[in-house]
Symmetry: D2
Subunit: 449 residues, 4 copies
């Protein structure tokens, strides 16, 4: 059976991930992501109303025109988790393919919301839920799709595995090797090892290189949680305002914030559109068990009403958990910093960034401005209470050891980052150009012919 | 009563801390430290045989000649904890003063060992043990010395407080605000707050500026411990060599390493002169309860014999905990990296640095070389599993809030670092040149006259 | 005669420089600057319409309320050169003082333009021109004001010297020791040395610490000119668009750009409001001899008309010299990058930044965005073709050697930068707190009483 | 005719460059370099006595065992210039090949000296001199070797071009596009353009990626010369010691130092083994016209005798130009810093580093120590008076434009640096894996078969 990989997007950047695997006549697409920074650098762009080709020209979504070179039928579109760089182009591209979107329940729900907010295209693909640990038949020639549970900075993340007669294709993007996650099960290394030992073995492993240059092991979410606990508990006696911010989609982190708020005698409340969206969805789907009275507000009016209530009842009784960890100009924390909300910051009030600045000058500039504006009002900054969601070097070594793949394709970054992974894989006996493939957006790699 | 502060050393560098406080006719000296880097930059210097004046000229020990300008009798020499930059000049300077050395038991023991290894001077000052929480009368005019328990990267650390009729002088160097230390009691903030509320209040607070430029709060040792646990537990299935290194004097960290080694089925063993010295001392004084069969070896012969045993019985059964976290040329880990010990590293073996590189090009160069040599043998590096022992900004704010000092003297670094503390203290209402003193080595500050 | 220095602004930041010197009953004010970044961080602020007190609260202009503590009459307001951080607050503060504004001709012209654009206050102080090398009597007690020629990144810069019976006060901000400037005379070191040798000598030297942490010597403008020449000459054969940007007020640099444009067969044209303002002023005052047909356009309409003409006549015949070297959102180069002007960039077109990014995350973010947008259109970036306008360490040593001042007051930055100067001055025998003064905004230093 | 490229060394590092080109049966080897840092990291290694295989295992010299896979006869070994990373392995590897070493006169002389100091192998290959602009026939099938003049940080550097019936192979390592070099002719861009326009064109271009991540254009040596002139002229009035250091092999820089020393009334003198070696060789071969009485001393005794003479006759009359710009532990400047020479440094003496620190922690640590030791004696540091010898991005674009190569192979660095070049080449229409080759040490690339 012919096996071919189309490396469509995310091989020259972080952002617009998209890869297709053809096994015989059956094609499965993994991820359809959006590179948001390519959009935001232009003023006044509204992606909801834009046409795909314009977004492709901007480098914002994958250029999937290479799909016409891939002879076969798309049987499934498989986003691996709910981050925008993995699902953000579905509303622009999925309608071109007559195939269902298959994902875990939380991811499906986020895809559904995105499709609903799309204003240019009508996306009508079936949405099919499949849990980690489950499998689905693809086509009629013995190909199976399996979801293996992984741990990442969003819940319900999986690595899809396409089992073919020629061996398994493991699409390994976006995970951390977490044995003590705060929500959900640990990464299913046992299953990866089994797949590695199966008769046909692993034909190809596609890997996320984001942290391939970082030594050691990415710490567990439990380590971030202890750091966060230490930080918030140390504020127990403070009788002024405390505000926290983190990635809205990072439900485990939000949960820790909610719990520690309660532990130090404050009522947590989630504020900002994304905060409401992700946490609300997670709660509705029973991924997290928030206190029944936990407030979540997304619309500006209800947010401002909540801030007024907080000011009336006393800031010392609340812990607002808000959007804005990167200093995004329109996010809630930035509005607070600019004095545009009813919440008044006083000297000594504490702002906790449970996030790291994504290292890019635009973010760094915006975050700097947000912190400076907060500082002008006397606020104190606690930053970097975070762990990455991506494998460091030792996780990569462990995955190679578990899967023993015949081919490796580094992905999810530019060539400079891929280069660091290539060094690492060569240490394990792979050779560039032989079984280790440095590729670009828009290429086809024929593995079996 | 006249109160005067002599800022003798450590006000222009980290290293040779020494401060004297005169209350009427009675003088107490806090710390007599060594700036080791000023020694090491010269080849082949043996401090044990050197004269004080030469070491003063090198900038290695405090220039205490200003003490002759201080009219009064030295009643006590009080090192605050056992790090070299606080006790390392005692063997060179203490004999000039007819006064006992007063310190906590662990510190006293380290001072004693240092005096014994000195080869130039005979130091015969009395060594007096005093525990945190205890007090001692100084002279005959109502001055009392108190030790307040603090948490730092070495056990049995205190902040000495000199109670005078004019108010308390709090010598606040070298602490972290740790409510969940791994060994010993949490920092005694309750006592600091009491002292701040006393009638005379705090006349002067001398503070350590090392991290005054770092936002937020220094995490508890418990956070480092969870990070370390996560790291070592992740290696449980590895059947090759694992080696760890950390600050030898950091008994809490060594204890965590020893425990986690046991948890993952490996026998810990401490190797290197300093490892034996500090951990042996801590165990003899009952500060830590190591397994009875924990091996500690300092002399090269016994270390090499242990390495041979490890190689014979199987590296997979041991966790050597060694010196060399900064890549020091003669430390144990560097010797291992150079292949100068019987311990053979193999591809995939793991080296855990539970320490941060002290940010200075010399260290960075040496650590880089050590890591590169380790890497040439296939070793994998896990680094930065550590938390600082010094207060970040929020700890400084909290101390000012607790003590409400009338005067503040930033210390323990060069003026650039002091400047960061001065900014911080000015935010709290202090004013440079009024009640906030930017000083240098060799100055006298008259607080009450 | 009593001598007192009021350190009003610019002792905790770069930006709102202002210092007053009282000699007996006569007071002279040096500089009244604006800290533009404190304004720009807020959205939609129009300084022209704002009240002084609001600008003081924002930290944008000096808080001159301390002037009421200074017993004496202001006899002159003396801006040292035309940069905004030295003259930008004149329109907000000068009207409070019944004294003329005394400056060199180019500076006076820029002050006049600023006063004319002010919309809140009517400033009616006399504007008095005085050239480098000239002196003026201040009051009736033997005080003289002298202007000594210095070299900086703007023309007609001086260091004012106030000669008093107690010695000279040298206000030494903003200069480079340039013996081969491109416009104007070399720095007048001979005169500084003479002043240092005079009977009364130098009572006090106020110095600019911006580069006190940088080793060596700031290169001459001639070095930047050769670097720029090498860059532009290397483009001689290119037949597409070349665009250059630099500090608008840096007339010497603009002159070099204009000359080299001609050398490589291109017609230079200055575009952007500030370009027109500074170069037009310099030309009218005969500081620079531009080609008679050199176009300078500031208003958007005339700029766009010029761009259209360039596009019609062929980009290869022109070198637009534009504003926007820091990526400022509304500057000309940023508009070009966003495709908002008629000038079309093509792949291979060259953009020359004859400027360094002012190291602050806001600038770095904006400049990054501008370069990225330029790159999306295929433009190639040449950056860092520049030399600083401020003294490095060796220039500071040389000034101390020439002036032999009795007192030194570091200025023009925050305490961290002052600290670097203090280290340097202590190497020369000064002592902090004795004859070397670390001060803050809003202090009085009594030198003679 | 079959054309094949063997990428033997320097494709994963900077250091042990070696590439072979097979055209039919004829093979030409370009460069045989040494990676000195792989040697120096080990204590007490003497390369002169070591066997090739041990040096290959250390990663110090190219692993040329792949040459046995290349079917053909080596007709020439062609080092492109005299730097160690291009000629340093000749004494270890050349004797295995029955072929002459062909190079420019200065390079040949340095090769000869190296062979003479070798103690393990007897290298007896013919040494053939060929000047830039000349050609030589290789084998009997119409292959010609041409040397094109280029500009680099050493004199007499060329890029060899192998003209084959299938097109030219341009081996483009180590050059800067300098139109105003201080010694020798400008880079021969005219000839490169001609080669690009020839009938067969350029089959393959092998390019040096060192600076592929740096924007703009590498400045001409003339710019460094003006910077250096500005620096030294500013010291004209200083009547104490001035010392300069630079790359010993950088004859143009040494020449500038010698000239400017004379201009400011000081006698230059070259000190240190490498200083004597390179400058002596350049002078003997008439590449540079030094003053007839210019002293050059390499042996420690004669150096120390010279230092004594300088101290006797007055430091103010001399400018020692010494080795040690990277703080190498045994170089002359480091010895001076340690007080191990008769030259005594005084407070205010000036040390000029006409070199940049090669950015690697080992160098940075050693240089830091050297500067610190110099500073302890009062010396003042002038650093970074230098320009790179390698092409920045715009030079790369210009070369691609001139040569229009059918294939491009980035070289002379690790994959991360190669990646930056790959991005650049893709901007020009090349595609990775098609006509743009990311390769590793030990690969064969078949271009024509």
């Amino acid at each position: 059976m012919e096996i071919e990989i189309a490396t469509i997007g995310g091989y020259e950047e972080v952002g617009r991930q998209m890869t297709a695997v053809r096994a015989g006549n059956d094609v499965v697409i993994f991820d359809m992501g959006l590179n948001l920074s390519q959009v935001l650098i232009h003023d006044n762009v509204e992606t909801e109303r834009m046409h795909s080709l314009d977004l492709i020209d901007m480098g914002a979504i994958p250029d999937d025109r290479i799909m016409s070179d891939l002879e076969g039928d798309v049987q499934a579109i498989v986003p691996t988790h709910g981050h925008l760089d993995h699902i953000g182009a579905i509303s622009k591209l999925a309608h071109r393919y007559d195939a269902p979107i298959v994902a875990t329940p939380f991811t499906i729900e986020l895809v559904k919301q995105q499709i609903e907010s799309e204003q240019k295209f009508g996306v009508e693909n079936d949405l099919v839920k499949m849990d980690a640990g489950e499998t689905m038949t693809i086509g009629d020639h013995g190909v199976e799709l399996e979801f293996v549970n992984v741990t990442h900075s969003i819940i319900d993340a999986i690595n899809p595995v396409l089992h073919t007669p020629e061996g398994a294709i493991v699409y390994g993007l976006d995970k951390r090797m977490d044995h003590t996650p705060v929500i959900g099960d640990p990464i299913d290394m046992e299953r990866f090892r089994e797949i590695g030992r199966e008769d046909e073995g692993v034909l190809c492993y596609i890997e996320d290189c984001t942290n391939a240059g970082r030594k050691g092991r990415t710490p567990s979410e439990k380590v971030a949680r202890e750091h966060l606990r230490d930080t918030l508990y140390s504020m127990e006696d403070y009788d002024g305002g405390i505000v926290a911010t983190t990635f809205s989609s990072h439900i485990a982190r939000v949960k820790s914030l909610v719990e520690f708020a309660d532990d130090i005698g404050r009522q947590p409340v989630l504020l900002g559109r994304s905060m409401e969206k992700y946490s609300g969805t997670a709660e509705r789907l029973d991924f997290v068990d928030f206190p029944t009275d936990l407030g979540m507000f997304g619309h500006r009016k209800s947010v401002d009403r909540t801030f007024k209530r907080i000011m009336n009842e006393g800031k010392e009784n609340f812990l607002p958990i808000v959007t804005g960890h990167q200093g995004e100009p329109r996010a809630m924390l930035t509005r607070m910093a600019r004095g545009e909300t009813p919440y008044e910051l006083n000297a000594g009030d504490k702002v906790v960034f449970s996030a790291r600045v994504i290292p890019e000058p635009t973010n760094e500039g915006q975050r700097y401005q947000a912190e400076k504006l907060l500082g002008m009002q006397g606020a104190r900054i606690y930053d970097d209470i975070h762990v990455s969601g991506h494998l460091n070097q030792e996780g990569h070594y462990e995955m190679l050891d578990a899967l023993q793949p015949q081919n490796v394709i580094p992905a999810h970054n530019d060539l400079e980052h891929l280069a660091r992974y290539i060094d690492l894989a060569e240490n394990q006996g792979y050779a560039l150009g032989r079984d280790l493939h440095a590729t670009r957006n828009g290429n086809l790699i024929q593995l079996v012919d």
